[in-house]
């Protein structure tokens, strides 16, 4: 079971992975819009006070499309037999842990905590003004966010490795550069084309 969670690409067939990935993106966009979360970058998640389904879905479409094209190009460079469907599945499935994170904002607590921390950083309030529970909840959220990021990167790594049979250190460096570039490109595109909240 654990192996399936960190490397579903080894066993699951492409149609199963595609169905899971597309369903997860739609569900993730719905969860994000319902709980005011924006996926405004390939490895980004921010909470706002109001957002809509179409905005969050467009975030996810930009994130996935830009990273699919970039990683497919890099995958082809590593191995000419790399298939587009395997990269699509890698990107779609690897984002699932991110889609779960907005659930922490069920009562808007993360949005409020973010506002308080921003106010604190701008010296508008003091530490004593922030409820202890908010601090604890934020720490718990930060912990699960870290787990989600590690999970996402592990899924990306395993999916990319399976898709293009990457093995060498150079291949791993290319993968890391691809992930960083995906973040930069998707973030830029979202700023340019999806500023509406």
């Amino acid at each position: 079971m654990f192996k399936i969670l960190i490397n579903p690409f080894e066993k699951l067939q492409e149609n199963q992975l595609l169905s899971i990935g597309v369903f997860a993106m739609l569900l993730g966009s719905f969860i994000g819009s319902a709980l005011n979360a924006r996926f405004d970058g390939f490895l980004d998640l921010h909470f706002t006070h109001h957002t809509g389904f179409s905005t969050v879905l467009l975030d996810n479409l930009i994130n996935t499309t830009s990273s699919i094209l970039l990683l497919f190009g890099l995958g082809r460079y590593i191995n000419s037999k790399t298939r587009l469907i395997d990269i699509i599945n890698t990107i779609l499935v690897s984002r699932i842990p991110f889609y779960l994170l907005p659930l922490f904002n069920l009562s808007g607590i993360i949005s409020r905590a973010s506002d308080l921390l921003i106010a604190l950083s701008q010296n508008q309030i003091s530490v004593q003004d922030i409820p202890q529970f908010t601090f604890v909840f934020f720490m718990v959220f930060a912990f699960f966010t870290l787990i989600a990021i590690v999970w996402v990167i592990t899924l990306l790594f395993n999916g990319f490795k399976t898709a293009c049979n990457s093995k060498t250190t150079l291949h791993h460096i290319i993968f890391a550069i691809g992930i960083l570039l995906s973040e930069v490109i998707s973030k830029t595109l979202i700023i340019l084309f999806n500023v509406a909240i």
Partner: protein, 90 residues
């Protein structure tokens, strides 16, 4: 079933065939014969090649049969092709 050793347990070098015996009359032939490259694959790889042929070279069929994804099976085949090329060049 006994596994055919293809690597020297002492120095890891490739083993040659030095004796062949007829199962019926026990006639023995001695000499030095190089193992065909397919037989130099390990048992797992040889099983994979056999399955590949039995499935008419369809990796998709093999993937379903082996309960693995298509790219996993294709990567295994690519690794075996690399190994065979290496054995052929040695």
């Amino acid at each position: 079933m006994k596994k055919l050793p293809v690597q020297c347990p002492s120095c890891s070098g490739t083993l040659d065939v030095s004796e062949l015996t007829c199962g019926q009359c026990e006639t023995r032939i001695t000499g030095s014969y190089t193992l065909p490259i397919l037989l130099q694959l390990n048992p797992e790889e040889l099983t994979f090649v056999t399955e590949f042929i039995l499935n008419s070279g369809s990796l998709k069929k093999m993937a379903v049969k082996m309960e693995k994804s298509y790219p996993t099976v294709r990567n295994k085949l690519d690794d075996i092709i690399d190994k065979l090329n290496q054995l052929q060049n040695d």
